[in-house]
Symmetry: C2
Subunit: 236 residues, 2 copies
C-alpha cells in the first residue's frame, strides 16, 4: 500500500526542503514524490539534504499543475494548518494512516503539501477529499514541510506495519480526473437550469465539491449521476 501513496509538494521555494522531504520519505519506505512547479529543481541543496535518498529525487515527477499530479488518484488529502471558511472533513495523521490500510488495493492516494509561506490555496484545498491537520501547538503550528511530511510518513508506516487485515470491499472509486469532468458537467447543468448564476457563483460549487468528495463516489454511482445530468440537459 505504501507504493500507492504519493507525496505532492506544490511550489516549494527551498530546494533543501525537497531534499529533506525525499529523505523523510525514504526512511519510512515511501518513494513516489511529485513536485508541482518547484522554484529551484534540480538543485545541489536538494541533493545535499536528501543525504542517501537521492534515488527518490531522481525519480521525482515534476509537473506544472496540481491537476497533473493527482488526476489518476482516488483519494486526495491536503495538509493544512488553518481552519477554513467552509470547514472540510478533517483527519489527523493517525486517522489518515488507519484509513489508508483499509483502502481497496490499487487505490492511488495523494498527500498534498502547500507552499512554505502560504500553504495550499482554497482552490487546491477544495480538490481534496479530506484535509489533514497535525495536532501542533496552537501558539506555534509552523511545522517545516519536511518535518510535517516526516510525521505523516511515519504514521503511514506504523499503520502499515501494524496492519494484518486485508480490505474485503473492492469499490472501484472514481479518480480525480473523472471527478473534475463530473464537476464541470454539474456546473454546466446548474447554469443551464438557472440555479447557478455564473456572475454571482457564491460558494455553491465549493459546497457541492465538499459533498461529493466526502462521499467518495464509486464508478457505478458516477454513472448514475452523469446519467441524471444528461437527462436534465436534454429537458430544456
Amino acid at each position: 500500500m505504501l507504493n500507492n501513496i504519493r507525496m505532492v509538494l506544490i511550489n516549494t521555494s527551498h530546494p533543501g526542503n525537497i531534499g529533506a522531504a525525499a529523505r523523510a520519505m525514504k526512511t519510512m519506505g515511501l518513494s513516489k514524490l511529485y513536485l508541482v512547479a518547484p522554484l529551484l529543481f534540480p538543485h545541489d541543496k536538494a541533493i545535499e539534504m536528501a543525504s542517501g535518498a537521492q534515488d527518490v529525487l531522481n525519480n521525482a515527477v515534476v509537473v506544472n499543475t496540481l491537476e497533473d499530479a493527482i488526476h489518476d488518484c482516488h483519494l486526495i488529502v491536503g495538509t493544512s494548518a488553518r481552519t477554513r471558511a467552509i470547514p472540510w472533513p478533517l483527519l489527523t495523521p493517525r486517522e489518515l494512516a488507519e484509513m489508508t490500510v483499509k483502502e481497496p488495493p490499487h487505490t492511488h492516494i495523494a498527500i498534498v503539501f502547500g507552499r512554505e509561506q502560504s500553504g495550499l490555496t482554497n482552490e487546491e484545498l477544495h480538490r481534496c477529499h479530506y484535509h489533514l491537520h497535525i495536532p501542533s501547538h496552537s501558539d506555534y503550528n509552523s511545522l517545516n514541510i519536511a518535518a510535517a511530511l516526516q510525521v505523516i510518513a511515519y504514521e503511514l508506516r506504523v499503520a502499515h506495519l501494524n496492519d494484518l487485515s486485508h480490505p474485503i470491499e473492492d469499490n472501484e472509486y472514481v479518480n480525480q480526473e473523472e471527478m473534475e469532468v463530473f464537476y464541470h458537467h454539474l456546473e454546466r447543468v446548474l447554469i443551464q437550469i438557472g440555479f447557478l448564476n455564473p456572475a454571482v457563483p457564491r460558494q455553491l460549487m465549493t459546497r457541492l465539491r465538499r459533498l461529493f468528495n466526502r462521499a467518495r463516489l464509486d464508478q457505478m454511482e458516477m454513472n448514475i449521476l452523469r446519467g441524471v445530468l444528461g437527462m436534465v440537459e436534454r429537458i430544456k
Copy 2:
C-alpha cells in the same frame, strides 16, 4: 507533563539541525532543550532554521557532558538506530509517549539524541533506562536528527492530548545522579570483594546497569541497596 520532558542533543555538528530541532519542539509544545558540547552554537544557521522558535534556542542549556544534562532526571531514553551487542529494553515512540503520560508528576524525563554521523556511544546508551527506535525502513533508516525529534515530539503531544487519566501511584523514583553514585558504590564493593577485576571488567557493570535501569528504583529500594552495599563493605 510536556514541561517535564527535555530533549538532549549530544555533539551536534550542524547548527542548522539545532535550529530545526528547536522548531520541531516548539510546534509540539516542548521547550526544554539541552545541548551537550555542540560544535557551533550559538550560530546564525541555527537561528535561521529555528524560524519562529528562537525562544527555545535562547533558553537552551549548554553543558559539557551528558551527565550534566541528565543528572536530575528520573527517566532517560536514548535514541538509537542500531541494535547493540547487549540488547537494552526497547521502546517505540508511541510506547514512550504512552509511558510518559503514566509517570508520576515531577518525573523529569530526558530524551537523548546522538551525533549526526555516529549516534550515541555505548557508554551513553548504557546510562539510559530505555532505548528508542523509530520504525524506519530497514534499507534506509537514517532519519535526520530534527526529523527524528519531530516524530517523537509529535507522539508525546498526541499522547498528552489523548490522556485523560492521572497517575495514581506516586513512586519517588531516584534520579540519575543517585543512580551514578549507586553504580560507583556497587562497582567499588564488587572490586573489593574480588568479584570484579578492574583489569578485565568485561561487560559486568553494563549488565548490572541494564538490570537496575530497567527496574527503575524508587527511593526506598535505593536505601535498601545502599544499605546492603555498606554492610558488605564493612565485612572485610
